[in-house]
């Protein structure tokens, strides 16, 4: 069998297995010339393990001002707890070598109101520097330029760090790898390909995923899996139409694509701020809240499993519909969703996290996830 076709077939196999969980999973064709690493970054060095650090003083809810020294301590404690090292430098050195080209996948879809906080990203960059990764070898990346422009990461990182977006104008495909993609036809769209960001396949040796804690109108919640998947491929919004979203299977499928899966070695969830309704955007302050926590791990499924409880717990506390609610009674087109937490636009698919676990991306069973809680 020709090598390229072998890789396609091999990539399709776990997807086919997982499709048994859900009756209407579309037929995906994964095209990649990359072999999986012997030890892929997902679920990585610490499967089924999450270090969760809560710090009441990390952000002041009224002003939304972040306390950078507290964030520094949260990251240090979280990383040490994850790896079991006494020195944070040793923790970071388990993941990164001075020669690495490191991509930091931020989330700016809710910017400037919620995003991977620049204080958090700045501290991650500082730690990379401590283990010898030069600023020029660090790339903070996201898909859309207009979102990133509002954040000003450049004010929080040393000169030389790249702040890069795939689409300076929406829909431009030049920054995507034409030879690494997932081909699927959801609703009859003619462009059936979602291509991986070229920097990931051609430049980065490692990736750190830095999502937020957010509700998501299609995916139920958006955390590690959604951020690394939809945030690293082109042409993904096509997976929603009408009240139907294909996030259930598409998110996990994208996250399996090599070399994205192998190179994404660390997950740091920034939950200083959160969005409990209206996500992934955050146009109104009333749906933002302040979990004041960060989660550290290599297993995105385990972290996202915890995220469901955070978001759904907050929604229940606010008398909003559960992210698990599939009743069509709450689905209403129009702008009502923006203001009313009991209105949805689509049937949410928080099951995407369990689906991803069936693809081998991590542990979904809450009884098997080891959570190391740290209070600062």
């Amino acid at each position: 069998m020709e090598r390229r076709k072998f890789l396609q077939a091999a990539a399709a196999a776990p997807v086919a297995l997982a499709a048994e969980l859900h009756s209407d999973v579309p037929r995906y064709r994964v095209v990649s010339r990359f072999q999986p690493s012997a030890h892929p970054g997902i679920p990585g060095l610490y499967p089924a393990t999450v270090a969760r650090v809560h710090a009441e003083k990390s952000i002041e809810a009224q002003s939304e001002k972040i306390d950078t020294p507290v964030v520094r301590e949260m990251i240090s404690r979280g990383m040490r707890s994850l790896t079991g090292d006494a020195d944070a430098r040793d923790s970071w050195a388990r993941f990164f070598l001075p020669a690495d080209i490191v991509g930091i996948k931020v989330n700016c879809s809710g910017a400037p109101n919620i995003m991977s906080a620049p204080e958090v990203v700045g501290e991650i960059v500082r730690n990379l520097g401590v283990v010898g990764v030069k600023p020029e070898q660090i790339w903070i990346y996201e898909r859309f330029q207009n979102q990133v422009d509002t954040v000003h990461y450049d004010r929080y990182v040393p000169a030389g760090v790249h702040i890069w977006t795939a689409e300076r104008s929406r829909g431009a495909i030049l920054s995507y790898d034409p030879k690494t993609y997932v081909d699927v036809n959801f609703f009859g769209e003619d462009d059936t390909r979602s291509n991986l960001i070229r920097l990931i396949s051609e430049n980065f040796t490692k990736i750190i995923n830095v999502p937020n804690m957010k509700d998501h109108g299609a995916a139920g919640v958006t955390g590690c899996l959604k951020n690394i998947a939809y945030g690293s491929f082109s042409n993904v919004a096509r997976s929603h139409s009408g009240f139907k979203s294909n996030t259930y299977s598409f998110i996990g499928t994208l996250a399996t694509v090599e070399p994205l899966r192998s190179r994404t070695v660390l997950q740091i969830m920034d939950g200083l701020r959160g969005v409990w309704h209206g996500g992934p955007f955050s146009p109104t302050r009333k749906f933002r809240f302040f979990p004041k926590q960060m989660m550290f791990g290599t297993d995105p499924v385990a972290i996202d499993r915890l995220l469901i409880d955070v978001i759904d717990g907050k929604r229940k506390a606010e008398n909003a519909t559960s992210v698990w609610d599939r009743s069509m009674a709450h689905i209403k087109p129009g702008n009502g969703y923006d203001d009313n937490p009991s209105i949805d636009r689509l049937v949410r698919e928080p099951g995407h996290i369990e689906y991803a676990s069936k693809l081998g991306l991590g542990e979904y069973d809450i009884r098997k996830i080891q959570v190391r809680n740290i209070e600062l």
């Binding site: 829909g171 495909i173 030049l174 030879k179 009859g188 769209e189 003619d190 462009d191 390909r193 096509r238």
Partner: protein, 307 residues
């Protein structure tokens, strides 16, 4: 004689200004034009090859372009493209004319040229220079026409219903040819009203075109485009060489377009209007297909592929 034949494929200009504007027309690089009957003599005196324009002898075409209907729910989010390629394919022998507002003359000229249509463009006077530039580009790339290539043969009953199906097929880059009877050289033959293609289904041309696509399969399609839903393709060829015409119906340039052509063509060359040093990128010809990327295109691009 040869140059006359080549020039005959180029779209004509209908210029309704008087001969006092001759310098501007000359500067635009236009030497042949259509004018009002009472202006023919004056334009000839000014050194132009002028003919009288008679709209009654030509079919008027809708203005090409894209309508973004944000208020209309669409299952596929495809913008509404107003394109005339299906009309040219249906009636290739008819003479046509465009009466287009400002900003549309280049698109009209490119569309007519891509389909080898006998068409005259009546532009907004402020578009004269742009029209002339497009004409110059078309002259540079012009070559004897190759036969149209298609996956689908459509037996046309001349009905409005079939016309709308042709329109939808063209808008989805499902390449077809209008034929008098089924022909085994096509991957799919479609006759509306037959058992496989009942009229009741064709009443929804969008869904019907999707059905045709499913029966054809994407794998067999001669051309597929990735990265834009406002670019339409026309493919011509003779088995050893292909010419792919790409028309961008939007007002924005396309930044990156990935193209898949069925068949292995190791050699490709790009000419893109108003793009300097245009070259195909990420070129690959293997496993029965050729793929490449156009880094940038404005209203029109042509790719020549050779075995």
């Amino acid at each position: 004689m040869l140059s006359f034949l080549l020039a005959a494929l180029l779209p004509g200009l209908y210029w309704d200004q008087d001969a006092a504007t001759a310098d501007a027309v000359k500067q635009a690089g236009v030497e042949q034009l259509f004018v009002a009957p009472d202006q023919v003599a004056a334009w000839k005196s000014a050194g132009f090859e002028a003919q009288a324009f008679d709209s009654s002898r030509r079919v008027k075409l809708p203005v090409p372009g894209v309508q973004y209907r944000m208020d209309v729910a669409s299952a596929t989010r495809i913008p509404w493209i107003d394109a005339n390629g299906w009309r040219f394919a249906r009636h290739s022998d008819r003479p046509y004319y465009y009466d287009v507002p400002r900003g549309k003359a280049m698109l009209a000229a490119a569309e007519a040229y891509a389909y080898g249509a006998d068409a005259v463009v009546h532009p907004d006077p402020q578009d004269l220079e742009l029209f002339g530039r497009m004409l110059g580009f078309l002259r540079r790339i012009d070559q004897p026409p190759l036969p149209a290539m298609a996956n689908i043969g459509i037996i046309d009953d001349s009905s409005a219903q079939t016309g709308e199906v042709l329109n939808l097929l063209a808008r989805r880059n499902l390449l077809f040819r209008v034929i008098p009877a089924p022909d085994p050289k096509f991957d799919l033959n479609v006759k509306i009203g037959d058992q496989d293609y009942p009229r009741s289904e064709a009443a929804n041309p969008a869904a019907f075109s999707m059905t045709i696509r499913q029966k054809l399969t994407d794998e067999k399609r001669l051309v597929r485009l990735f990265g834009s839903d406002v670019v339409l393709a026309r493919l011509t060829g003779d088995g050893t060489r292909l010419r792919l015409h790409l028309i961008n119906y939007s007002d924005r340039k396309v930044e990156g377009l990935r193209i898949r052509v069925r068949g292995e063509y190791p050699h490709g060359r790009l000419a893109a209007f108003d793009v300097k040093n245009a070259e195909l990128a990420d070129y690959a010809a293997a496993d029965g297909v050729t793929e490449f990327t156009i880094p940038e295109m404005n209203v029109y691009a042509v790719i020549d592929l050779n075995k």
